[in-house]
Symmetry: C2
Subunit: 337 residues, 2 copies
């Protein structure tokens, strides 16, 4: 596209060289990958295309000092997490990249982080765009799921169990340490930082939950917020066992490096931490065995944290049965504390 | 996604309100649109999905003073132009938007420009992302085309005619006037600016050329550059009649407001202007009648500008048959003059 201002040459390579060097590999699944006006992708008979886009901005979604290899991983991981939440099988992705300058080392590291996760999920980079500008990474992922098996936010039913996958609160813990508002042992911080920078999208779990879960969402803005979207879309409420939620915090349960945190801190981190990329889902109590099987098949820890109710409220219960106030707002990009 | 820095509230609405207010309408074609983790889209039997992404950055692809309604149009138009170049029928699009602040007037105007063009092509906005950051608009369009009918860059054959659609050079003319390097009458500038800010994606032409054109690309980086990609992908060359190319310049042929430009200026604008969003395509001379029919069916002016050759060079011929040097480089985002 036409450039609006006369600019100084910033790097040693042009846009096409950049794509050739770092982002072009033969497509294995797509009919046509990087290098034409469009990519072409076949969708299997009986399957629908599941699509999601996430945009990552420097200073907002990652620190300028982040390891670019980790950033490449994370930029794709947060998108794959959306496919996981729909029970879709990842097929391909598009990458649009705005770069302040062409830094071959940065690009090499970034692309290696990206390729490693793409390879782990056997998906192709099929197209995109590169331009100069403030650092911005926009990925669109494409997956397949049958219309009848897609996990939606709107399917939760009264009486359903509510589960979360893996561990909650790690990313927020790392952020609070970065901010200086919490102190933890070095090993705990490194683990939390690794989880913040290199989250594991729960794709295998999402696939295993097809036909079992009634509703699902990924936890990107904090459990309360994302579960809230499921409840609103399903026109139901929930009672949550906060002790079970707090138990998902990795750093308090790790026998290697146990740390003491107040219950309030544990609840803040796990209920409204954000950036977890775990799944929250609901399933009928009749399906408890099937849920255990899905957990085993996907090698993903699950914790049952509550129950769907007809009342539209989201009620937080303490261990003693008392109702807790929930003043932990969901993270929202335009309404910050 | 988790926010990294404590930020001051910038607007009156949160991310979800913003989406609800400006970017959510019932999906007409998609199974599931804005509001879940993924959008779901059915692809018709026998069709493949055509996908393209374009990222627009303030100061690079548009001026900060641009009318936001025009910007909404253009952000979608440049993406639809890629579908046109593949002969794909537009179905839906994703919008990822990074905004420095929430300005309801700007968002209302931007979304109206976007909706107007989306409505003209009967396509749904099915999902995306909004975040705070430097102004950046990333759109991914999704269309349908059968694998056998898709227009690729790689299909040009020796002996093919080469055509361009519509008018070339308008956007570059407007840019040069903005830069102060050219002066034209007000009416000429207004027309050129309109073409720069509100290009017409040649979707109808792309559809009409299926089964007729051997190869196609859209002209975003200048005719020489984009035709060059077609020739390289097809492993062929071309001889171009520069007088025919220059004749596509609207401002010199308009009887209402004729202006005089040197031939060198005409050639610079039309051969390497950029931001045209016209199509360049090749077709066998046997198909000349079919090409005329496609032009009429799509109500799109076409100009035959040359011929595909076995020699890999791109030769520019003057009216007198002389070979012209072509020192007009293709616009390239990372290798600017």
């Amino acid at each position: 596209m036409l450039m609006l201002a006369t600019e100084v040459m910033l790097g040693f390579m042009g846009e096409f060289d950049l794509i050739e060097t770092f982002f072009k590999r033969p497509a294995r699944h797509a009919t046509l990958g990087v290098g034409d006006d469009c990519a072409l992708l076949a969708v299997a008979p009986g399957q629908q295309l599941a699509i999601s886009s996430d945009m990552l901005v420097e200073g907002r979604h990652f620190l300028s000092t982040v390891n670019p290899r980790h950033l490449g991983h994370k930029a794709l991981a947060v998108n794959l997490s959306d496919l996981a939440a729909c029970g879709a099988k990842p097929k391909a992705f598009m990458l649009a990249l705005s770069l302040p300058q062409v830094d071959p080392h940065w690009l090499s590291e970034f692309s290696q982080g990206l390729w490693a996760l793409a390879d782990a999920h056997d998906i192709d980079l099929i197209g995109g765009d590169t331009t100069r500008g403030p650092l911005n990474i926009c990925i669109t992922v494409l997956g397949e799921v049958s219309a009848t098996q897609a996990l939606l936010r709107s399917g939760a039913q009264v009486g359903d169990d509510i589960y979360v996958s893996g561990h909650l609160g790690d990313a927020r813990l790392a952020l609070e340490v970065f901010r200086g508002s919490m102190k933890v042992p070095e090993a705990v911080f490194e683990h939390a930082r690794w989880r913040m920078e290199q989250p594991t999208p729960r794709v295998a779990l999402g696939l295993a939950l097809r036909g079992i879960a009634h509703a699902a969402a990924d936890i990107s803005d904090g459990l309360l917020g994302d579960l809230g979207h499921v409840l609103k879309a399903s026109k139901v409420g929930a009672v949550i066992d906060t002790q079970q939620v707090a138990s998902t915090l990795a750093c308090t349960s790790d026998p290697q490096t146990p740390i003491q945190l107040t219950l309030a801190s544990q609840l803040a981190l796990t209920l409204s931490g954000g950036d977890d990329y775990e799944l929250v889902f609901t399933a009928s109590p009749d399906q408890r065995e099937a849920v255990v099987s899905a957990s085993q098949a996907s090698q993903t820890k699950l914790t049952r944290i509550g129950r769907v109710t007809a009342s539209p409220d989201l009620v937080l219960r303490a261990a003693d049965g008392q109702v807790l106030p929930h003043t932990f707002a969901s993270f929202d990009h335009f309404k910050s504390p």
